[in-house]
Amino acid sequence: MKRALLTGNKAAAWGARLARVDYVPAFPITPQTEIIETIGNWIDNGEMDCRMVTLESEHSMLTAAGAAAATGVRVFSATSSQGLLYAMEMLYTVAGWRAPFVLVNVSRGLAAPITLEPDHNDVLAARDSGFLQIHCSTCQEVLDSALIAYCLAEDERVRLPVIVNMDGFYLSFTREPVQIPDTKIVNQFVGEFDPENIRFSASAPVSQAVAVLGGTPYSYFRYETHLAALNGLAVYDEITEEFANTFGRRHDAVEAYRTEDAELVFVMMGSFATKAIDAVDGLREAGWAVGVLRPRLLRPFPADHFRRALAGKRGVAVIDQNLSMGKGGVLHTELASALYARAECSPVLVSFIGGLGGRDISLEEFYEMAAVTRKAVEDGEAPPPRLLYTKGELREVKKLQAVAHAERQELGKEQ
């Protein structure tokens, strides 16, 4: 076992390597490309016995990934934002094939307008597809989650593909210390790919992914996929328990930081949650009873974990780094439905939306969100959702607009 400084992308590549994946269909997109370049290099050097093929689009890439998994090999792939959406048809399709494999998504804000920096709208667009989702907040977690994801995907109680999500730039291009576990121990942990009778071979003809006519059989297949996804909750807990025993690192379905005696809790996903942890340390020093809950598992949705963790809590600041146009934050919506009509668990939920396109969320903003939430608890009512944005930022945009001739008036000036 060695400890090295790795970017999130390199950590993902290590996850694929340690899992001894057989096949990597690939297509480049910022900010993921380093993953496939790394794997490509290892293959060329003979350090990985794996086949990598560049397809001509992400839609084709996902098709090839699912098809190879349905043939009987362990598959890895990676994409981001526009690529993930280009493949969207196939995400639903290959999940319906019950083809297990791991897809790393390096999340990035969606066009339009096109950008390169992260938020979670891309990966959340896939939440209905049947792919399970694991969200990482450190580069270590990226490597570990890839291994966990193979166990989860290939478990006979699941047999569904899994997305491992990391934030672009903040994890993908950021180096952090990562323990690279020992190959032998990982081999024992992850094991070999078992097609479990869904494969192609001459001696066992099979027609896969066939058409279905009629609401009754169609509903059966869709419900079963959902039940398999729900099984992921228990299976994930089993796997991560064994992971903790084997590798000494715990990756619970919902990470809880200083929540036991908290009255107020931040809830957020991804790498910015470590900033929330940082803010909580500051707030605690100032006497606040505050903590952080970070869901790692988003699909299946860990409702029971949340209910247990939030029982008796008084206020929750849900920070969404995503925006469903015309509705608001996705995590806020999902959490609200999980807590609805639960007598033992009814904190005031306050919705904040920020971090879109990589926009920073400052320490001061975390402190202020805690204050707003405390007030909401006192009032017994949540204020309307806040889109995090400052006067200074608006001034900045106005200046840009002046150059773009979109807006001829700068803030504060008369015309």
């Binding site: 093929v53 839609h59 084709s60 090839a64 090999v73 196939m90 001459a202 001696s203």
Partner: protein, 304 residues
């Protein structure tokens, strides 16, 4: 064509592998071609399908295949084929399966996918040198949705989206030339109405490695508006009149396997189909008929 198993019609298969009971229209020219092709390719195959009429070949729990099948999506069957071929290659290389478990990978799409949405994936698969067969059943329109025009629709044809007095204003894309420009291992045109020619070409394709692509003209009673019993006759007329050249591309050269002599006028082919009835009723559209004839004549002048 020297060492072919199919020298005479008596050499054609007498047992048929593809199962009965599929929901294809009675008289389907596409099924005609596929059932002949399947006899020669055999059951050590996995057919990778794109959205089209043949999506309905396998509807749970019924499948006509004695080998395997994977339904993918309209644009990406060649990518699905890539995944299956690579998967099998990895399993063989890592000795997780024996070589007798290997399968030929066969893409099956209609013209909608082949000429249009799937062209990018096909181009890429050829360029990667994928070892696969590609069968396009070409019924010259988006058949499964009601015969709207596609890039394969011939000039002047009436379709659900070209109902004007002059029919489809566009021209049939030359998919053969597009595929051949990629310099794959093999490209050929076939039609079920000429089973010996088809058998020899499939046999040849089967013996080669790399990308091998076939376009099968598929007369369509439902979309072309004629009585189902006429499907084979119309296929024969397409060849006789020169509308559907039977040719192959191999080793960098295009060769015709049949050069029709004394071609009957194209209208002998057109008038049998309701989709061209507006060229004859209420009165003959001489201009369009001559235009169509001229294009066919022009093609064959280039060949001879």
């Amino acid at each position: 064509m020297n060492e072919t198993k199919f020298r005479r019609k008596k050499d054609l298969p007498s047992t048929h592998l593809l199962g009965t009971g599929t929901p294809m229209c009675a008289g389907c020219g596409g099924l005609e071609a596929i059932h002949q092709i399947y006899d020669i390719l055999g059951e050590n195959t996995v057919f990778v399908n794109a959205a089209g009429c043949m999506t309905m070949l396998s509807v749970y729990p019924f499948t006509p295949f004695r080998g395997s099948w994977l339904y993918t999506a309209m644009a990406s069957a060649p990518a699905g084929a890539q995944g299956v071929r690579d998967g099998l290659d990895v399993l063989l290389h890592k000795q997780r399966i024996e070589s007798k478990e290997d399968l030929q990978v066969v893409v099956l799409t209609g013209d909608g996918s082949a000429y249009g949405m799937g062209l990018s994936a096909t181009s890429s698969a050829i360029e990667r040198g994928l070892d696969f067969l590609y069968i396009c059943y070409d019924n010259e329109g988006y058949g499964n949705t009601g015969q709207q025009y596609s890039a394969a629709t011939p000039h002047g044809a009436r379709t659900a989206t070209s109902k004007g007095p002059r029919g489809f204003p566009g021209y049939k894309k030359d998919l053969f030339a597009i595929w051949a420009a990629h310099r794959p291992a093999y490209v050929a045109t076939v039609v079920g109405a000429e089973p010996l020619d088809l058998a020899r070409k499939i046999e040849k394709a089967k013996s080669l490695k790399g990308p091998r692509l076939i376009i099968a003209l598929s007369p369509c009673p439902t979309g072309w508006h004629y009585d189902p019993g006429e499907s084979v006759e119309i296929g024969k007329m397409a060849v006789k009149t020169g509308v559907w050249p039977l040719k192959e591309y191999v080793d960098g050269k295009v060769a015709h396997t049949k050069v029709p002599q004394q071609r009957p006028p194209v209208e002998e082919y057109l008038k049998r189909q309701g989709r061209f009835s507006h060229l004859f009723h209420p009165e003959r559209n001489e201009v369009l008929l001559q235009e169509i004839q001229a294009r066919v004549d022009g093609y064959w002048e280039g060949v001879i």
